[in-house]
Point group: C2
Chain length 155, copies 2
DNA sequence: TCTTTAGTTCATAATTTTGTGAACTAAAAA
DNA sequence: TTTTTAGTTCACAAAATTATGAACTAAAGA
């Protein structure tokens, strides 16, 4: 069975903490770390369990979460019941788009604020809020173009 | 003392949940919501405590966190010991920059992964990882320019 | 048919996060 | 000097999140 060097273990934790900080469950975050770091491009359920020293249920839980959120995927081989898990990095563009959606989605809440303030007839200055709304709108338009621009720059 | 309408209360919660989802502590997230929604442009410690129905310690904790992370600020008035808290929306550009830094900061971890893989002499395909690194680099360069472009478009 | 494999599920335990209220502080007011 | 105001601090409680291990399932192999 594959084993991790100390350096690899440390990096798994580092990447784990990064994802944890971004709101991911600890075990799932370590699985991400492991799949990034592992020299083997794909790992089985049991390998993940053993390399991370977590219980089978923790692994099951983490893996299902990551599959559901589109961050990992698996392949199988004929005559082998194991699933081989790997990062779905092909999809990083998708992931980026999702992040943009969330960020610019705050716009909707800000509009509600502005609407409500109008109703309540308050006389306070809303120009800064309007500025943020405008910027989020701008981002929403421009970020996809930016991705395209990058894609062209690579060909 | 100011009181919130049902609509306002609902929106405070909505904005609260948005910030909570983004990793903020619940109470702090409600304070953000309140300061966005409140028709009064600034609120005192006690107003926050009463409007949100939380304890003084929860308010103290939340406020200090938000001040520390540069998301709110306060003003005072001569002959009045109270602090009047408000959003530091002037700083939203700063906040945006911070978010970019965090996101593109993942690049550093990815480089470590690539470095380690080279050391371990693995033969697996790293091209997708390199692609992500390249894109994060591109973003790091381009996003500040994008902000500038938006600023010009507004004048 | 019996066993093994590759997981899943669930009750419960451990840990972490968050909130509370009472006691405290430091400055201003009376 | 005593009291009030505007908070802060801290020990503890409540709640939410995670992890565990034992029991289970469903398919494949012997």
């Amino acid at each position: 069975m594959a084993i991790l060097t100390e350096k690899q273990k440390a990096l798994v934790e580092k990447i784990g903490i990064f994802h944890e900080t971004a709101g991911m469950q600890p075990a799932a975050a370590r699985v991400m770390g492991l799949l990034f770091v592992s020299s083997t491009p794909q790992l089985t359920f049991d390998e993940i369990t053993e390399l991370l020293q977590i219980s089978k249920s923790a692994t099951s839980n983490a893996i299902n979460l990551l599959i559901q959120t589109g961050q990992i995927e698996y392949t199988t081989f004929p005559g082998d019941r194991k699933r081989y898990f790997k990062l779905k990095i092909k999809n990083w563009r998708e992931g980026f788009k999702k992040k943009i959606e969330v960020m610019t989605g705050f716009q909707v809440l800000l509009r509600e604020v502005l609407e409500l303030r109008k109703e309540e007839n308050t006389h306070c200055d809303c120009s800064k809020l309007e500025e943020v709304v405008s910027f989020l709108e701008f981002l929403h338009q421009e970020l996809p173009k930016l991705v395209e621009r990058w894609e062209k720059s690579r060909t």
